[in-house]
């Protein structure tokens, strides 16, 4: 298993370097001068040329890349053109908010999703199943911004239970987490239902029942535990997705997170910030996928043995 994890880790590292290189090259070959974008309407050609030289953007690309790589390895991702602050500092504060948001959203999605999936599976083809299945479908199909606007309008504006935007306290995270987790909850519910129904057909479930175990015991100790394997993989992938940036949720609820920072970087052609946010998002996704693989190996003895 160690060999398998080492292989995955190596693959992840290669992907990471590949993404860094690709981002770096792409940002420099697409048309448009980032300095001109940064300086705006009033910039004259001489100032743009001077700033371009000052920031080393007139250097050959390989030299720029080596300089970037050596600084990045020391934790220096440069200074944002548009926000004028060190990228590492901006990422740190944005990632903290995104982490809180992702944690809250994941908690919301997983608890709700597993509970719905469980209810659906035990009441297969009956009213609760159809009801919760419809509910999970709604979760999957409802766009995040619709969920966000609905929650914002009803719970914050009309009922005034939560702030409309901002994250000054824990209350500020409740609506964004629910809006963001809504979609994941639907996916988890469907996956839990499908996986649980399959597991309930297994021989060892029959054996457990024959041994006289109660319905709840069979369901939770034997069926749910085994059915959770694919669900856990989904959760790990979902979590890395939530962490890599929830642009719409962060925008609607004014959360200074990684997704918003990335959009800002793209629209302002802010090269250092764009490189930093891409690197962070890629690392998180790769790490999440790596973690899911490892988790699967640990939880499933068959994979453990094969590895």
């Amino acid at each position: 298993m160690r060999r398998s994890i080492a292989q995955r880790f190596l693959q992840a590292l290669i992907v990471l370097v590949g993404v860094v290189l690709l981002t770096f090259v792409m940002l420099r070959v697409v048309p448009g001068n980032p300095i001109e974008t940064m300086m705006g309407e009033h910039a004259d050609a001489a100032t743009v040329a001077r700033m371009t030289a000052e920031l080393g953007l007139d250097q050959p690309m390989h030299r720029q890349f080596l300089r970037y790589l050596s600084s990045a390895l020391r934790g220096d991702f440069g200074t944002s053109y548009s926000l004028g602050k060190p990228v590492s500092l901006l990422l740190k504060s944005a990632f903290r908010n995104t982490l809180y948001l992702a944690l809250f959203a994941a908690l919301f999605a997983w608890i709700l999703g597993v509970a719905c999936g469980l209810v659906c599976a035990v009441s297969k083809n009956r009213l609760p199943d159809r009801l919760f299945l419809g509910f999970s479908l709604l979760g999957i199909s409802l766009p995040v911004f619709m969920a966000a606007m609905f929650l914002q309008y009803v719970l914050a504006f009309k009922l005034k239970w939560f702030p409309i935007s901002g994250t000054d306290s824990w209350r500020g995270f409740v609506l964004p987490a629910a809006a963001l987790g809504w979609n994941s909850a639907g996916q988890v519910a469907q996956m839990t239902r499908t996986s649980l129904l399959e597991t309930l057909q297994e021989d060892y479930i029959e054996t457990a029942r024959a041994k006289g175990l109660g319905r709840f015991g069979v369901l939770v100790r034997h069926a749910l535990r085994n059915a959770m394997l694919p669900v856990l993989t989904l959760m790990a992938i979902q979590f890395s997705g939530l962490l890599s940036g929830a642009v719409i949720t962060e925008t609607v609820f004014s959360i200074n997170g990684v997704g918003r920072l990335m959009v800002q970087a793209i629209s302002g052609r802010d090269i250092p910030l764009l490189q930093g946010t891409s690197l962070l998002a890629t690392s998180v996704v790769i790490l999440g996928s790596l973690l899911a693989d490892c988790l699967y190996s640990v939880l499933d003895p068959r994979i453990r043995k094969e590895g």
């Binding site: 705006g40 004028g84 504060s93 005034k160 935007s165 004014s254 200074n256």
Partner: protein
Amino acid sequence: MKRILALLLTVALLPCFPAFADSAEPGLLRTAVLYDISTMDVTETTDDYLIPMNVFDRLFETRPAGGSSEIVKSLVTDYSVSEDGLTYDFTLRGGVVFSNGSALTASDVQYSFERLLKAARENTEIPLEIVGGEAVMNGEADVLEGFRVTDDTHFSVTLASPNAGFLAELSAPAMSIVDAETMADVKAFGKEPADTVGTGPYRVTEWVSNDHYTLVYNEKYWGAEPSVKKLIVKTIPDAMSQNLMFQNGELDIIDLQSQDSAVVASTYKADPSARIVSTPNVGMIYLIMNENTPWLRDVRVRKAIGMAIDRDQIIQGVFMGDAVKENGVIPNGVWGHNDALEGFAFDPDGARALLREAGCKDGEIRFELSMDSTANTSTQLIYAFISDSLRRIGIEATVVSYDHSSWLAKRSSGEMDSFVARWGMDYNDPANIMYTFFGSAESTKARSINYSDADVIARVAAARAIADDAARMSEYQALEKKLIADDAAWIPFCVGLHLWCLGDRVESFTPQWAGFADFYAADVVLR
């Protein structure tokens, strides 16, 4: 399972918690912007002026005055201009201190001007007019030759060539005065609130990127104490959230320019109790037609384009009537604006006749209308409207959207066929628009106009030096007629009205003279 049930129960019981309430202390003003600022330093921005306007002072200020504006003394109490219009003698207001207690002196003014040149980034145009400005900016000199400090409160400035609009220029936010002594000690001026020290009515105490910034009253301020003692500007990137926050009483002023015009009409204008304040966005929305583009170099084609677009319909359809029609180069609200100037009359038949005269067949003229993808909804509508109007006279103008960076690059290369943009005035002088667009061949190329009449360009450059106001106005108006009526160098459309809505806690609000989204917090009176 019990734990899961407990968590679900907690979520279900959330409504039992006390309702959320965003409290507002006395003297607090809360407002919101869509985008965060990038800096508080005028050497690095030509957009982010709210903090410079409130934290720093300038030698003069442009203030609204009965539908127009006037230039008033701020940090100077007296001045005189030499006969040749080159040298200005100033007397600085005595007893003024920065918010950290350091005294304001004439050397601080000199330092502020030189700092703009040494930084050589943004807002260098005005100090460059002073003798020796170029040398300081190029690093060939350390001090401005044309700046003479007599004592702590007296100094003189000598310009390289006369510019009758110089005092107006000194009132631009770019000309904010900083403290030379403080600047020697601080490391992050413009980035760190504690390092960003001015003589203005407020000091900045907090700036959380992409979240909010806070200004509080500067108790060492030399002027009258404002009603607003604390200003919180929140960064709320979603317009609908801003709208809900205002309706909920979480904001005291909302900038309706951030809202969709349909929301403004249905939520604000339709509500008779809504207190809306409006002022023209002094500036110009215009259509550029590149004279280097085939067909567009023919003045008859450019004039036909001007005649094919119903500008009144743009005002009604796009701006819901909240706009003022413009006919020239010098906008409404700017000194020298010519009310009598006649613009392009909407005449599609006349336009078709002109095209025939120019030898164009139906559908033969094709060019690109390049749109910046960050253009707001009203600008996007104008693009669609122009394209449709031109199709009706047989011109195929295709709207192509570019990301902001590519759009700027294409425009400054001088190769953009045609585009719509807006210019906002920085100071109240015609040169701010006339000279910027038509003052040199490089300027017209950088904006993809490629205006070809060298004589007119030379006259625009020379007009800045005319000391006599009446003669200068007459020359500008003659130039304006030549540029628009004769040469159709651009098609002026209109200038939109900038609307705000006031919350219950606000008694009155006076917007900045040019309708900037940035405002003076001291011009807000709280109840």
